[in-house]
């Protein structure tokens, strides 16, 4: 009874110091709102509003129709007609076009004669990812064009591929990004909060007072951890609501599993935060420590680019990174309705990280207190 009473008092005190202070309150909500509004609009690997330069030397019907079809593609909003090879090269070099199409004089004639009509496509290698996607759009348009022509002439092609995208039929990048944001934004709040709250008490000298009180170091840690977990839940719920109701991302999985994963994620963050704060004596050091952990952890989480694209040794190194596991949990629960076994399998590393970091932090605190 005494134990819970003390912890409750400590948690209330912590929450008061977080919520009671207008600037720290703003710090917990403002970045979440700002980032939820900004990120999904800014961060996209889709190709939209791209510019395409077209140099058409052929006056034939086939070439004209192909150019028409390229220009009508929704991803290319700007079509730059160019009239020489130099202009074509310059449009790429100066970045005014992402890709440039060049159709030779004899294009239509060759096709009419039953030969292959070549189309040269120049792409800006400085933006090779977008350029590759744009190239696949051109490929699809050309494919459809040839099929339509075959149908007109009463020919059939022997085989065709029918592609479906599961879990995200239109490959909407927002459906990928928002679940990721639930993980990424929660990290900032929970980690910095835990790391700084201990450092602040150290700076103000109140940490020693806590240590000489009847509270054990473990109780102090729980007192610091519970509010951070509550804040993480609060922030994650905000983004979750925004994802579903503002951005219309379909939520297919189980909320219970998501929050279960979130609990262990928050726990592992609290562990990392406490561990950082146990070796720092000032707020500045704690902030920088948290930042130095957070940056690589976020970059190597699969949010910026998939973990499977990394070299094998780096993939192994991402194992102790809590963000990586939670990114997977949110994304799979959100879009793929992941099974309980799958989520539990992803929770195991989170629990392990939490256990290790909290254990180490507790040893460090005892040493400092003793």
């Amino acid at each position: 009874m005494n134990f819970f009473h003390r912890i409750r008092a400590l948690v209330i005190k912590e929450l008061q110091s977080i919520v009671g202070n207008p600037s720290s309150r703003a710090l917990l909500i403002m970045p979440v709102i700002l980032q939820t509004l900004l990120f999904p609009n800014a961060a996209t690997l889709e190709v939209k509003n791209a510019s395409i330069a077209i140099y058409n030397r052929d006056t034939g019907e086939t070439a004209n129709e192909l150019v028409q079809r390229f220009a009508q593609c929704g991803a290319f909003t700007e079509v730059i007609p160019v009239h020489s090879q130099e202009e074509l090269a310059e449009s790429i070099e100066s970045r005014s076009a992402m890709l440039a199409v060049s159709i030779p004089e004899d294009f239509s004639r060759k096709i009419a004669a039953g030969e292959t009509g070549p189309v040269q496509v120049l792409l800006d290698g400085r933006r090779s990812n977008g350029a590759q996607i744009a190239m696949s759009y051109l490929q699809t348009i050309t494919e459809t064009f040839m099929k339509d022509r075959a149908a007109e002439q009463g020919r059939t092609i022997p085989s065709e591929t029918i592609t479906r995208y599961w879990f995200n039929p239109n490959l909407d990048f927002k459906n990928f990004l928002l679940p990721n944001l639930v993980a990424v934004i929660t990290t900032i709040g929970a980690l910095i909060l835990t790391a700084l709250s201990v450092a602040r008490e150290r700076e103000q000298g109140t940490f020693d007072q806590l240590m000489v009180s009847p509270l054990t170091p473990e109780m102090v840690m729980i007192g610091k951890g519970v509010p951070a977990i509550l804040v993480a839940f609060f922030q994650a719920t905000l983004i979750l609501l925004a994802a579903v109701f503002i951005y219309d991302v379909p939520f297919r999985g189980s909320l219970l599993l998501l929050y279960l994963g979130m609990f262990f994620y928050a726990l592992s963050l609290v562990g990392v935060g406490l561990l950082i704060s146990s070796v720092c004596s000032t707020q500045q050091q704690a902030f920088l420590g948290a930042f130095s952990f957070m940056m690589p952890a976020m970059m190597l989480s699969g949010f910026a680019s998939p973990v499977e694209n990394m070299p094998k040794w780096l993939q192994m190194l991402t194992w102790p990174n809590p963000v990586r596991h939670f990114v997977e949990i949110v994304k799979e629960v959100f879009l793929k309705d992941a099974s309980a076994e799958r989520v539990l399998a992803l929770i195991v590393p989170l629990a392990a990280i939490g256990f290790c970091t909290i254990g180490c932090a507790s040893v460090m605190f005892r040493r400092k207190a003793g």
Binding site: N41, G125, S128, N129, T161, W166, E308, A338
Partner: protein
């Protein structure tokens, strides 16, 4: 240089003293080296980040894990399966039932699968019929999904042509697109991501480090002490700019070396162009960092502000990972106010294209303007404090 002829107890607030400036710069340098946390940001973090960005951020999947289920019998179907398995960029796993296929794509074990339907071989043989081939890609990784479908389609097309040739048939594609990736023939995303990531690293040094260190001076009251001394405003500002400028340029050089010699990103431009572009970008972010710290005068707020005003825009809105042209019109407008945008596009050009001054010039002019603006803003803020 008048100051050098005066003795130190003279009230020499007027006039510029090179000696005082040197002393101030030296003090600033010592401050950076003595504090472990600024050491961390100045030296450790840039190296960690270049390696994290260099190896961790990659938009190209080296080997795609693809499931394959061949429901058909017959040589046609098996021929296509062989063609898929022979592609080095794909790790093809054979499946016998749809249930385990679905399970594995849900658990992200595979990123897509191909189903060759039962009647595939038969319908291939009938000239009046088109045999469908089912391709499914995991849309929860949209970028990878694009490549899954593009790669499988590529294999399929090559196989179709090969098959026609083997049968002695005249099957010509009517139209052949011949893509050529300029500057980056293998279309490796690392070649533009690594140069772009230098932007983020320079921002960390220029904005985060300066804002923290200068805010600390305000917090501790040593800034007021400096302002009360004969030090002029120009000397004070220069003493904050010069050491961090040198530090930033050293780390730029370090990052470029690491990118070129360790990660093998081709560098085709000139050192002069790099120096010019790097200098003006660094001065801009230094200006932002100094303006923030002078405005907030508090370490914690300064760090938060630097994170939100310099770091996040450099990550999200600079075009380093996410293409600016794909953003909505409003955000595209906002990116024009962010110095990182101009640096990303010019450093990518310097690395990949070379030194086309005509292309670089507009970016350089924008960076000059932004550095003048932010340094001027700092000067203005500092002036107010002195009164």
């Amino acid at each position: 240089m008048k100051g050098e002829h005066r003795t130190s107890n003279e009230r020499a607030a007027v006039g510029f003293s090179l000696r005082r400036l040197k002393a101030l710069c030296w003090k600033e340098t010592l401050q950076i080296f003595r504090d472990p946390s600024s050491n961390l940001i100045a030296f450790v973090l840039p190296l960690v980040l270049i390696f994290v960005f260099g190896y961790g951020i990659n938009l190209d999947t080296p080997v795609l894990r693809i499931g394959l289920m061949n429901e058909a019998s017959g040589t046609e179907a098996e021929g296509f399966a062989k063609a898929l398995q022979g592609t080095p960029s794909m790790d093809i796993r054979r499946y016998q039932d749809r249930k385990s296929l679905e399970e594995d794509i849900t658990n992200s074990e595979i990123r897509g699968f191909v189903i060759i339907p039962e009647d595939f071989s038969r319908r291939m043989k009938q000239t009046s019929d088109t045999a469908p081939l089912q391709v499914v890609a995991d849309g929860s990784e949209p970028n990878t999904a694009q490549f899954v479908s593009a790669y499988i389609n590529g294999v399929w097309q090559t196989w179709m042509l090969q098959r026609a040739e083997d049968r002695g048939e005249e099957m010509k594609r009517e139209i052949a697109l011949e893509p050529r990736y300029w500057y980056n023939p293998s279309a490796a995303s690392r070649n533009f991501l690594i140069p772009g990531s230098i932007t983020v690293i320079m921002t960390v040094i220029g904005a985060l480090l300066t804002s923290l260190v200068v805010a600390r001076e305000w917090e501790r009251g040593t800034m007021e002490a400096l302002l009360a001394s004969p030090v002029t405003r120009a000397e004070l500002l220069l003493s904050k700019i010069i050491p961090y400028y040198v530090l930033g340029m050293v780390s730029l050089a370090m990052c470029v070396m690491a990118a070129r010699f360790i990660m093998g990103v081709p560098f085709r431009g000139s050192a002069l162009a790099l120096f010019v572009v790097g200098s003006f970008f660094l001065l801009s972010v230094l200006g932002i960092g100094l303006a923030i710290s002078t405005g907030t005068k508090n370490q914690f707020n300064a760090a938060q502000a630097a994170l939100n005003a310099a770091f996040l825009p450099a990550m999200m809105l600079s075009g380093f990972i996410y293409e600016i042209s794909s953003m909505p019109a409003f955000l595209r407008g906002v990116t024009h106010l962010i110095p990182a945008r101009y640096f990303v596009s010019s450093i990518q050009t310097i690395f990949q294209v070379g030194t086309p001054w005509k292309v670089l010039m507009p970016d350089i002019l924008c960076l000059m303007a932004s550095s003048a603006f932010f340094l001027g803003l700092t000067a203005k803020l500092t002036k107010r404090r002195m009164e």
